[in-house]
Symmetry: D2
Subunit: 174 residues, 4 copies
Amino acid sequence: MTDAADADVKYRVSNPAYAERVRASFGRQAFMGFIGAEIAEVAPGAVEIRLPYRAELAQQHGFFHGGIVGTIADNACGYASFSLADAASSVLTVEYKLNLMAPAAGDLLIARGRVLRPGRTLVVAQADVFAVREGREKQVATALATLMLMAGMADEPHDQSTPGNKSLGMDGTP
Amino acid sequence: MTDAADADVKYRVSNPAYAERVRASFGRQAFMGFIGAEIAEVAPGAVEIRLPYRAELAQQHGFFHGGIVGTIADNACGYASFSLADAASSVLTVEYKLNLMAPAAGDLLIARGRVLRPGRTLVVAQADVFAVREGREKQVATALATLMLMAGMADEPHDQSTPGNKSLGMDGTP
Amino acid sequence: MTDAADADVKYRVSNPAYAERVRASFGRQAFMGFIGAEIAEVAPGAVEIRLPYRAELAQQHGFFHGGIVGTIADNACGYASFSLADAASSVLTVEYKLNLMAPAAGDLLIARGRVLRPGRTLVVAQADVFAVREGREKQVATALATLMLMAGMADEPHDQSTPGNKSLGMDGTP
Amino acid sequence: MTDAADADVKYRVSNPAYAERVRASFGRQAFMGFIGAEIAEVAPGAVEIRLPYRAELAQQHGFFHGGIVGTIADNACGYASFSLADAASSVLTVEYKLNLMAPAAGDLLIARGRVLRPGRTLVVAQADVFAVREGREKQVATALATLMLMAGMADEPHDQSTPGNKSLGMDGTP
């Protein structure tokens, strides 16, 4: 899976500049920078997020915290879906379910998200999360998510003091 | 809900020092300190986690990142369950499902977790997450989680170089 | 909770004839009649479904089959949401998560559904399921569901030979 | 996937007679016979369930009821897991999440379940559900489930009048 060539493009791309848009949005998520996550791969309907281990990201046993696993799984589903959105639409996570399968012990965490069903309004996506130790990947979690395409919703920052901001709807949600 | 007095104790407490044990374990989670979360209340089968807003915790619209919402929801379910564990047992999150209901816009995020079913091995817990803005709480998410009580599993840090560590079982999971 | 009076109406009713519409739709679900389920109570944003035990509904241990528990939990979330829809809208279940807490052993199964978040497009609802044995209720499951309001979608039967039926959208889903 | 030959056996089989045991247990589920479901394929960690359309299984639009979709998805996860159990163990569904992707419109419903993580105590499994119309399969749902292996728990019917039955534990659940 690379940005440049997708021999096996499964989904219709609405925005030819999807990869740049995904990377720019990811770059605007301050929390991703804070924990040190990067978006490694972007394809139509699929992305890969990587996060090196740091002691600050641990739970009490020294492994990656479950919240970190959930965070990059959720984000991998979100950006896999966002890659199929047209240039004027954004994506919101409606809900997700995460199964933790093994302790996230390793030097690197990788989340691979892919779209299962590209709906007009609702998208179903799945992400698998792997911990890499001594060069070997081991699956530590899987997530199944529902996302919503928001037509005409910008992906730029909001002013929190403007609660009535139209771009997110009346209460900022669907 | 306070540590000191619980007029309406719904669940049997296995460890009289449950509140201290919950707080000590929370204190060992480096990630909680990194994001600035604190455990505000601990009762039998229920906890409250609070997290003030910081720009580092934001997604692209300036709200709390969904991963942050999921993190404290998961942790609120986990420590609500841990409060009922006996002194020699620990708790693992098996899975959780999170519904995001509104943007997490505010100065403070509060997650309140409670045990729904205190099983001998499996615990079902739920957490509601609220954003506080101008002193008013608004629910932004709810999570439904399954957790597992691990008899004889320590809550102290592991040495990541010792993959065979007995206290977590063969692969560190159930 | 009764049809007639709701002292504590929490949600705005869009269709004054909501209770009749819920009961009529429930009556059109052949599967509900097949298993013997009835809708016992309808209030704004909340319903109760009851299902007496029959040997045909059992799994291998003689308890209500888990699929039966999931069916009435899903339906309780669906009709709780449908009670808030306007007269020209219908409701689809997007997804649900079900936690089974105890064997569904008893003479009667009761599912109580309630809306947690009444959105304009998406609704979050929860249902608790109880088994009644010797007159005592015991909770056996809880479900957390996401539903979608479909404006202008009829609630009457479709002709399966007409796949292009507009009222459900191109592929019959959001 | 057939009973006879599994070129690509991914999981360790604990009970050589797993296929017979799966089929016998399925045969004891009265509800499967009531709706007309049959278990078509059994392999180590994977099963296929088939259910022809009948008007009694419909919701108000004439499609398979969502509860039916959930029922065979849940059961496909359950029996995929059960196929890996040793001869003295049984399996309970702890929880599952179901995403409905399209209306279940067709003459036949097929659920294919497979084990994602075969734990010693907890198993994670996934099932995809397809509706067949005019000979073509279309995916209508996916489910992600957690199941529990119960050592020493029989798979035969219980006497409902014996609530203390040991084989299911004190309250019949983990």
